[in-house]
């Protein structure tokens, strides 16, 4: 699958050195053929908590580029290969982030934009895509699956695979408040995890639903923070699933006048916005 040299590659590892090694192996390049940019030095964390991988970006030096890389991507319905593109997570509102994910699928001669993920992510993506394709087929949902990778998480620097399901009238697959989408992701992760003997943590999206939801939640967080400040009292939000609560926490992290807390148990767990 990777017999041609890639121009750019982002790799992860426990240390910067390990990340570089893994990237070079994936690119089939030697150290003097690439320029190395350290995106994240990584951290061991405390007792394994808060540890994150080092991330490096390797770029093949000018003159050594052989051919435009075409990343291998399987699609469920359309046979046309699509390059995986980096998906920006909507965790901050400071800059209104682009709503369209995986937007640019056209070949671009000038700019090598295809950034590949680490080999482990590639394997997970391939298996996840296969399993999701079969699932949708057996559910009689006709759709195309486009694979991508998230940008490094604000907090952990971690990247995860994103499989975006695209097609006509997929509301039935999202369900109320995204319940069916959550179920689909949960089951698909279990199936992939069982196959690969390691926990899978890819994300399934449907027509950018999660992205839109993240933008909406971030706006809600800002609005409710203002309300808390104006009314000088804590504000409780509606109960939300963990990843949605996280978006609220992340949006208001570093806010000058409010902080957030989760309270309640299970399905009733919700975020409270409190004054500092």
């Amino acid at each position: 699958m990777m017999n041609k040299k890639k121009r750019e590659y982002e790799a992860q590892g426990k240390t910067v050195e390990a990340a570089i090694e893994s990237g070079l192996a994936a690119m089939r390049a030697t150290r003097d053929e690439v320029e190395i940019q350290v995106l994240d030095e990584g951290s061991r964390g405390l007792l394994g908590i808060g540890s994150r991988n080092a991330v490096v970006k390797l770029t093949l030096k000018q003159g050594l580029v052989q051919e435009e890389p075409v990343a291998p991507v399987i699609t469920a319905a359309a046979p046309k290969p699509v390059s995986p593109t980096v998906v920006e997570p909507m965790t901050t509102l400071s800059a209104p982030a682009p709503v369209e994910m995986l937007a640019d699928e056209e070949e671009d001669e000038e700019e090598p934009t295809a950034v590949s993920s680490a080999p482990i992510l590639d394997e997970e993506a391939a298996v996840a895509q296969e399993i999701l394709t079969n699932l949708l087929q057996k559910m009689a949902v006709s759709a195309t699956i486009v694979a991508g990778v998230t940008a490094p998480d604000d907090l952990t620097g971690e990247r995860v695979n994103v499989l975006d399901i695209r097609g006509e009238d997929l509301r039935i697959l999202i369900g109320q408040r995204g319940d069916t989408l959550s179920a689909l992701q949960y089951i698909a992760r279990l199936m992939v995890g069982h196959r690969l003997h390691q926990r899978a943590n890819f994300v399934i999206d449907i027509e950018g639903y999660r992205q839109r939801r993240e933008v909406a939640l971030a706006k809600l967080a800002e609005r409710m923070a203002q309300k808390a400040i104006q009314q000088r009292r804590p504000i409780s939000l509606e109960p939300m699933p963990p990843h949605e609560r996280r978006i609220i926490h992340m949006t208001l992290r570093g806010h000058q006048r409010v902080y957030t807390q989760s309270t309640g148990e299970g399905d009733r767990r919700k975020v409270r916005i409190l004054l500092k």
Binding site: N134, M139, L173, T180, A183, H194
Partner: protein, 78 residues
């Protein structure tokens, strides 16, 4: 329906050969009956039934597409 459940469940258990799925006509539509090896029961049901309920949600999508009523029951296997 049966095919969907079989595919999901066989991919989750340690004993796929012991998975049995049957469709039975019930009063309120189709009942999909699932049997798995006793050791796989916990895996299929999950904490607070999370796994089985998620499978039900996916089955519901299939049933809605077909315009049918369906339920999924896990039976004690032997």
């Amino acid at each position: 329906m049966k095919e969907l459940i079989e595919y999901i469940v066989k991919s989750l258990v340690d004993h796929p050969d012991d998975v049995q799925v049957a469709e039975v006509a019930g009063k309120a539509g189709i009942v999909v009956e699932l049997r798995v090896a006793p050791e796989d029961m916990g895996r299929i049901i999950g904490k607070n039934g999370r796994v089985i309920n998620s499978i039900r949600a996916l089955l519901q999508v299939r049933a809605d597409k077909l315009g049918q009523q369906v339920s999924l029951e896990v039976l004690e296997g032997d």
